[in-house]
Every structure is written in C-alpha cells, then in structure tokens.
C-alpha cells in the first residue's frame, strides 16, 4: 500500500532551520506542503502528510517550485511600457517605475471607468494560481464589473464537466470511489493518474485501488497517463465518446435490461410525465410535475406520490393529454444507438461495446448494500467517469451527460464504490458548524448544489436576456466561461445585441492570454483594442507585449490564502477519510520590489475610492459575521482579512497565527457526508425537459444578431453530435489533433521551470507530436522528423513527430501548451508545440449550450524538409 512517511516537522530544529507549512499553487491540485528553509533560504519542498490534500505527496511540479521562485528571469519591479505600439514581438520599451507611479496611473484609470460604467473593466485570471481568487472575488464586485474571466484555463477547462457534474452529482467533477470501486470506466479523463483535482491524493488512492484489484478501462485516443496503468485501453476516434457511451446505455437499458429501477424512481426525473409537447405535465393547482401512481392508478404531483409507486413506463391520459414517463422516452431514444452504429462513429468494435457494458452492469451489483462505519448503504462498485478530454468538443454538454447517464441507469451515483461527485455534502466545521452545505431539492424537485465554484449555480437556471456581460453568459445561461471576451465576432455581436458599453481596460493576473486561449493573431487583435492593460506577472511572457504596466507578483510561496482547499467540491479527495483545512502563507521573503497582490488590490481600491465596496464584497465573499465583518471604508491589510476569515470560521482561538504554526487541521468525514445520495430527497434530470424551450428563447435574442442556435444541442434527450472536424472532408486532411495536460506541466506556465524543462526534454512526448507508428510509416515519416500540421483554415504549427503504438491511428496528440516565443522566458522559448495556434475562437467552434470551446481540429500533415 502507499504508506506515507511521518511528518518532517521536528520539535527543536537547529537554529536557522525550519519547515513551514503552506500550500502548493502550481496547479489547482492545491496540495499541502512543507517548505524547508535554512538560514532564510527555501531549499526544499515536500508534501505535508498531516493533510488529506496531497496526503504528503507532491508531483514533479510541486517539488520544482523553488526553481520558479529563484528564477533570475522573474519580474521583480513595477514596469511601464514606453513604446505605444503594441504587437507580437514588438519591444514595449520597458522602464522601471515606483509602486506609487504604477498605482496612481492604474487607480486614475479605474476611477474614470468606474464613473462611466464599471463594466468597461474586465479581469482575467489564470487557473494556475486559482486559489488566489478570493481577493479578486472581492475586488471585481467591489469595483462593479461583472466581466471576470479565467483566461484560457476557463475556456479549456471542464466547463461542461462542471455543469453536468453539478446537475447530476452536486459537484464540480466526478471520480470513482477508489476505496470500494471494482470497475472504473474512464472516458477522456486521467483522474488519479495525472494532473488536476486532488491529483496527488487521487494518485495514491487510484494506485491502492488497482492493487486491490479494481479493473480500469480507459477510453481515450491516446494511451498515456491513465491508460498506461489500466487493465484495458480502448482507442477511440477523437471527440466521439458520446456515441460510445450512448450505445452502452442502450445495451444496458434495452439489451441487458440491467437497471436500478428503485433508484430511477426515487432519485431521477424518470417518472415525471411528459406530454405531447415534450414538457412536464403539471398539477393544475400546484404546478408541480406529475407522475403516475401505480397503486392508486392516478396522476399525482411528484412530491405527493411515494417514489415506490411511480411508473417508469406506460402511457397515460392526464389533464386531457396522452403522456409517458420521461424514462420510457429515454429508453426508446437510446435504441438508435446500436453498438454497430457506434462502431462506425467511434471505431470501437460493437462486440467490445457489448462486452464492456456487460462487465460494467455485472460489477454494478444492483440491489446490493454494504455497511460502512455502522451505516447501511447502497453498494454499486462500478463507475463511469469523464473529464476534460471528452468534453473539449462542440458536443461538450451531451458528451459528458452521455457518460454520466451510465451511472444513473444502474444507481451508481454517490454511494459506496460508485461514481462520486467529490464532496457534494459537508456537515461543516465541527466546532462552529460553519461552511456546511448539502445538495437539496429545488424547483420541480430537481437537485440544487450545496455549494458551487461560481455564484450562479447550474440549477435553477435564470431566464436568458439581452446580454450585458461581455461573454454573453446572461444570454447563454448555461455557460460559465465564454469565448466572446476575445472572439472573432465580439465587436460585431456586441453591436448587434446593443451592449451598452465596450471593454476599455483589462487587469490580468498571471494569465498568459496570448497563448492560453486560441490562435495568437486573433487574441492579439482583441488585446490591441483595449486602451489599457495592467498585469500582475512572474515573467515577461507573450502577453506582456500588449501590457501597459507590469506589476511583480510574489508568487505562491509569498502569498496568504485562508481557503486554498475550499470549497471541497473542487479540491478534496473523494471517499472516506479526513477533511483538512490548510492555509497558504508566505514562506520566502520578497525579492526586489515584489508585493502581495491582495494588498496591491486593496491599495487600488483605496486610491480609486471604492474601499467600502470592496470591504462589503469581502464580507459577502467570506460571509464574515459579527465582529469579524469589515467596517465601512476602513483599510485592512490582507493579513488582517485572513485573520478575520479564520476566526469567523474556527473561533477566536484559531486565527491566522494559529494556522501559520499548525498549517493544517483535520477531522474525519462521516458516511452520511460521503455517501449522501440515499439520504437526500432530490432528483436529478435524465430528461432535460427545459432545454428545447430554453433554446428557443436564446434563439429569439441571438438569432437576429447572427448567432443561430442549432436546436439539436437543446434537445431534452442526450445525443451524439459531431464536431466541425468530423465534418471536414478536404483531401488529405486525415488526422484529428488534440492536446492533453502533461503531468510535467501546468498550462503554458511551467515550461520556464528549469527542472521541469529538463524532465520534459527526457520525455519523448512532452515537446513532440505523437502519431501512430503505422500511420506515420504509411506516410513515409520517421520518428523525429519535423512535420507541419495545417488546418483547413490555413493555421499551421510545426514540431517533431514521435511515432508510437500508444495513439489512435487517426489521432495526433500534443502535450500541454508549449512553444513559447517570449524572450522573457528563455528556458521555455522555442520548446515544444504551441497547440492553440490551430484553434479558432468563433461560434462554429463552441458548444452552443454552455460555450465550451472545441479543442480538436482536422489537419493535413506534411514533412518539413531540413537542410
């Protein structure tokens, strides 16, 4: 088993020798760390075994954080451009300025914009240091802008994964219950085998599960981090997972008939009666959806009938219309997804589809129970999970839903061994009961999340309206991040949709927007249109060419954060074990003129006269109560605000000083928190009744502006729908490209880290293009050849090909976001491939439901002759 060595904190360290607890922020795994300092110099970073987040482990990036901190290329002083001309590779002519000069200029602009319309300010951040979001969560609303985006991270993240996981599991994503799962199906996910959510905790749990005998089947175009450790790798054509998952659902429902009927009756909207117009048949008095009560042979509101008596099949006359339970409509709908049809779409043989489904169905052990810590619970030791790979396509929403439907059909949802939303329920901090949350029934009895990573949860949805947000999320109400911050259509659309303002100023926090969203020319155009950009950065990167004032950030080893692992739906491992509360604190002294960015934001709020608004926002964001609330326009340091947050949650005895010393506190989870589903009387939608009407409402607004909503994406029943790349039939365009998150790198940031760069150079995949050996040989290519990929729109990238059996014959796999060209990142410059150069940022390439960007493309490959 994966035992962790005891903590390295020693009772009496030699003079000048200390281990300081904090949190890694080099990805959103947010592992708890211990930093070893000798005579004031940080010399080593290890995992903190006292914490459940990371469980004492670090990945290669976490260990290498020192190299980022001590990199001589770091920005250490505020700087202002002297060259007004902005463009790729044009020297901004940087000059050093004082903090006062920098803040006065930025605050002056903020004041002017705030007086006109605060929404003219947009804020972009990176997910690389995502836990630094709290000061921004107060700064932006205090200022009054609603235009906050997550750079490329947001667009390239699990936009649909989060939305659908929220609707079906009250969580930000899904995982197998590693401790009890016996059969895990992975679709385009690497959970427990690579970067990302709770990655180090999950890696330990996944390794233990495999050792215990959990069978793991990975469906992915590439046999990399997860598939390499799986029992079986199922190569699939890029972007077609929904066709496979729906064929498996069809086999479950219509060939095997292996269904958890009580679960479907009690926990889904499967019994809700659907009329001829596709909508719920509702109770005339209460307007609640009706179900058919088989005991009394009448229709009753869903919240009146007993679940046990609800019909899942049949045809009934109610309120003068003929209606059927939504479950039977789904079951019939699935029939078109025969394994033979799916084989054509996905290249996965029909017999394999049937075999995998039968294995999954058998392992789900429908009807069984198990006792955990004295509590009897449903036992479903099978899980189908998915993440970013599967949902980085135009059909993002349905791709994800199709996979999660597998779990719904067999009742493998948030019970022992099953697919889990991680930490959807939390009873609160034991001593104070604070911060607790539970999923609950909302309108129509459908589940509302207990907590969420954004302020608008996935359900219930607001009505679409004429947009006033730059990203149009108030029109596309199921969207979270949006391509319209930087899109090709942006200005034209804003004009047609009568947007009452235009963006004028951007404050960027660590996002390298030029690289992290889509092709650089398009992003450059969008950045050039802004009057002013201020950016907190560690390095002069590709985006710096467009920035007016650069502010030196202290980085994750120099900042405070009281909630690096909260909310738990994002950052805690699934399953039984502990809750941990860690903090992040400065472990190194500032170098040069670096400042804690949160204090800089507070300074800006003071100089631009919105400190009382920012204090009110801090009160709201942290939910500060009583004497911990920030008062009026009094100026607080961020350290004081952190202290207030901790005392507010943990009591006066456990403020910042307590946590600085302890670093982390832990307490045990209960089975009712972890396996919450049977205890919670809320249903999840397997039939998305609201979708067609929502689509029509959006079309009524967006259509006249030129965004025609393809209604097939707004169907109540989940479908496979192809990407633009699947429809590209140009001669010789015969490869599908995709990129994946390398375990050695986070976004486009870590390539500047010398240790990680060295490791990546030893890895045959990190900086090369993976191509199937036979496919390469057929085209006369040899391993190491320089090749060019070109899209139908003429976008091109070059890189060296690595021939391997570990990739689907039609796939081209590219790791991470490399290919830097900025001189300020000399370690990274020129290494690897800038994948995003291939990507468009337009309506044709986003999911019309939640605006997820399609990250695949169809390309033609040619060898580049070298002298």
């Amino acid at each position: 088993m994966n035992e962790i060595k005891p903590p390295r904190i020693v009772e009496r360290a030699p003079e000048g020798d200390e281990w300081i607890p904090s949190t890694c922020n080099l990805c959103y795994g947010t592992c708890s760390i211990l930093v070893h300092k000798v005579d004031g110099v940080a010399v080593k970073i290890e995992g903190n075994p006292k914490s459940t987040v990371g469980k004492g482990r670090l990945c290669g990036k976490g260990v290498s954080g020192l190299m980022t901190h001590y990199d001589p290329n770091r920005v250490r002083v505020p700087m202002r451009r002297t060259n007004p001309e902005k463009g790729i590779g044009i020297d901004p002519g940087w000059e050093e300025i004082s903090w006062d000069e920098a803040l006065d200029e930025i605050a002056g602009r903020l004041k002017k914009i705030r007086a006109e319309d605060p929404r003219k300010l947009s804020i972009q951040r990176t997910t690389t240091v995502y836990t630094m979001g709290l000061p921004w969560a107060a700064f932006a609303p205090g200022f009054g802008t609603t235009n906050v985006s997550e750079g490329g991270g947001g667009l390239h993240c699990g936009n649909s994964a989060h939305q659908v996981s929220g609707l079906l599991h009250a969580s930000w994503g899904v995982l197998p219950d590693f401790q009890y799962c016996n059969y895990a199906l992975y679709f385009g996910a690497s959970k427990g085998h690579a970067a990302g959510h709770n990655s180090n905790s999950n890696m330990g749990q996944a390794a233990d599960a495999r050792e215990r005998g959990m069978k793991m089947v990975v469906i992915d175009p590439m046999c990399n981090f997860a598939a390499a450790k799986a029992n079986e790798w199922v190569p699939i054509r890029v972007g077609t997972d929904a066709a496979l998952a729906l064929a498996m659902c069809n086999v479950l429902a219509n060939e095997l008939g292996t269904l958890d009927i009580p679960y479907l009756k009690a926990k889904t909207n499967g019994p809700y009666l659907i009329g001829p117009d596709g909508t719920y048949v509702r109770d005339i008095e209460t307007n609640e959806p009706l179900v058919w009560d088989t005991k009394d042979s009448i229709a009753k509101p869903h919240n009146v009938a007993d679940s046990e008596d609800m019909a899942l099949e049949g045809e009934f006359e109610v309120n003068g219309v003929t209606c059927q339970p939504s479950f039977i409509l789904l079951k019939e709908h699935l029939k078109k997804y025969t394994p033979e049809y799916a084989e054509e779409i996905t290249t996965v043989p029909a017999e394999n589809i049937r075999r995998l489904t039968a294995e999954f169905a058998k392992e789900a052990r429908i009807g069984s129970t198990i006792v955990i810590d004295g509590v009897t619970l449903p036992y479903r030791p099978a899980a189908a999970i998915a993440f970013r790979g599967l949902q980085g396509h135009r059909n993002a929403t349905f791709n994800f839903l199709a996979v999660l439907l597998l779990n719904q059909l067999v009742g493998a949802a948030d019970v022992v061994g099953s697919c889990h939303g991680f930490n959807s329920a939390f009873d609160g901090i034991p001593e104070t009961g604070r911060m607790g949350y539970q999923p609950k029934a909302g309108p129509d009895g459908l589940m509302e999340v207990g907590t969420w990573m954004a302020y608008d949860p996935p359900y219930p949805r607001p009505e679409p309206k004429k947009p006033e947000e730059m990203g149009l999320q108030d029109l596309f109400v199921m969207g979270m991040t949006s391509p319209f911050f930087n899109s090709k259509e942006g200005e034209e659309l804003w004009e047609k949709l009568d947007m009452p303002y235009r963006p004028e100023m951007l404050i960027n926090y660590g996002a390298n927007i030029m690289m992290s969203i889509a092709n650089k020319d398009l992003i450059a155009e969008s950045l050039k249109k802004l009057d002013f950009i201020a950016s907190f950065d560690l390095f002069m990167n590709e985006t710096s060419d467009f920035v007016d004032i650069i502010l030196p950030d202290r980085g994750y080893l120099g900042c405070y954060n009281t909630r690096p692992n909260s909310p738990y739906i994002f950052s805690h491992p699934a399953g039984m074990g502990d809750w941990s509360w860690a903090i992040q604190q400065p472990v190194v002294e500032p170098e040069g003129k670096e400042r804690i960015f949160a204090d800089v934001l507070i300074d800006l709020a003071e100089r631009a006269d919105f400190l009382s608004d920012m204090n009110a926002a801090f009160n709201a964001v942290f939910d500060l109560r009583g004497e911990n609330r920030l008062q009026g326009d009094k100026k607080y340091s961020y350290e004081e605000i952190c202290d207030a947050d901790l005392k507010n949650n943990f009591g006066d005895e456990r403020g910042l000083e307590f946590f600085k010393k302890e670093g982390v506190i832990s307490w045990p989870k209960t089975p009712e928190e972890v396996y919450w589903r049977p205890f919670t009387d809320a249903r999840v939608p397997i039939y998305w009744e609201w979708m067609p009407e929502l689509g029509k409402k959006i079309q009524a607004i967006s259509g006249p502006a030129g965004l025609d909503v393809p209604m097939e994406y707004y169907s109540a029943l989940v479908d496979y729908l192809p990407c633009a790349s699947h429809e590209c039939d140009h001669d010789n365009f015969d490869f599908y490209t995709f990129y994946y998150r390398d375990t050695l790198h986070t976004n486009s940031f870590t390539m500047e880290n010398a240790w990680l760069d060295e490791a990546a150079q030893l890895d045959p995949y990190s900086y090369n293009i993976a191509m199937n050996t036979q496919s390469g040989l057929k085209r006369g290519l040899e391993d190491g050849d320089l090749i060019q990929l070109e899209t139908a729109k003429g976008r091109k990238v070059k890189g060296r090909v690595h021939l391997t059996q570990a990739i689907h014959p039609e796939g081209l796999g590219i790791a991470a976001l490399c290919g830097h060209w900025a001189k300020g990142m000399p370690v990274a410059e020129g290494k690897g491939i800038f994948y995003n150069e291939l990507l468009e940022l337009d309506w044709e390439n986003v999911n019309p439901v939640n605006l997820t960007l399609d990250l695949c493309s169809k390309v033609k490959v040619s060898r580049v002759e070298e002298n």
Partner: protein
Amino acid sequence: MGETPAPELEIEEDRSAVLWYSAERNAAEKPAETAESENSGTTISIDVLLFGLLSAVTTESPISLSLPSTATPLDVVAALEDRFGADSFAQIKDPNIGILTCCRLFVNGEPFEDPYAPISPDGLAGTIEMIILKGFEGG
C-alpha cells in the same frame, strides 16, 4: 394504459430499494398551508445599502424605505425600482429565481437566501445590503 413490467434483477433480493425510497434530508417541499403573519398590516423601516455595480443606481446611502412588515427582498427591489426607475435592477431580477443567486443579500449582517421570504419576521427595522458577486473558477 398498462405499465411494462420492470426488468428482473439478477440478484435475489433488492436490498437497496428501501434505502432509495427512504430519503428524508432536504426533501422537496410539500404543499404548505399559508399562515397569516402576526405583524401583517404594520410597516417597518428598512435601510438599503447598495455596493459595487448596484451602487451606480444612486449616490444616496443608506436608502431608507418604509415597507409592510411582511416585505421580502423582492418587495425591496420593487420599492427601489419605484424610486430609481423601472429597469434599474433588471440585471438582478429573474422570473425563475426571483433575485439571481449572484446578487448576495445580507440582512442585519446575516446572509439572506430566499428572495420570497419576509426580511423581518419579527417586524423590527433592519438593514439590507446588496452586492453582485461574479467570478468563476476553472479547472
């Protein structure tokens, strides 16, 4: 009109069915009796503090309102719209949700979630703070 029989289970006894059917926590609301509030008919003073984007509506702060003791946050918004213009709060109102979740409400310093619930069930004066929070974490 009949129901298709449910598929047979492969195990002899479905032991988990009773667990699925017995949920109690956070149950969907049953139709409730409406009760007359003790304080209905009286009025209360409410001070409104608007922050961030909402503060652009007026420089007046706090905004003092006199409302029926049964007033809800939606009634407060309606009263503000009467005073400052019909569309001044359009960005936070929603026919499905009442007041959008991103608009956080605090009554006397305590968070207040339900836009349809009386702000002051005890009929006492109070302060309501309103601020729009926006933001998102990707991953």
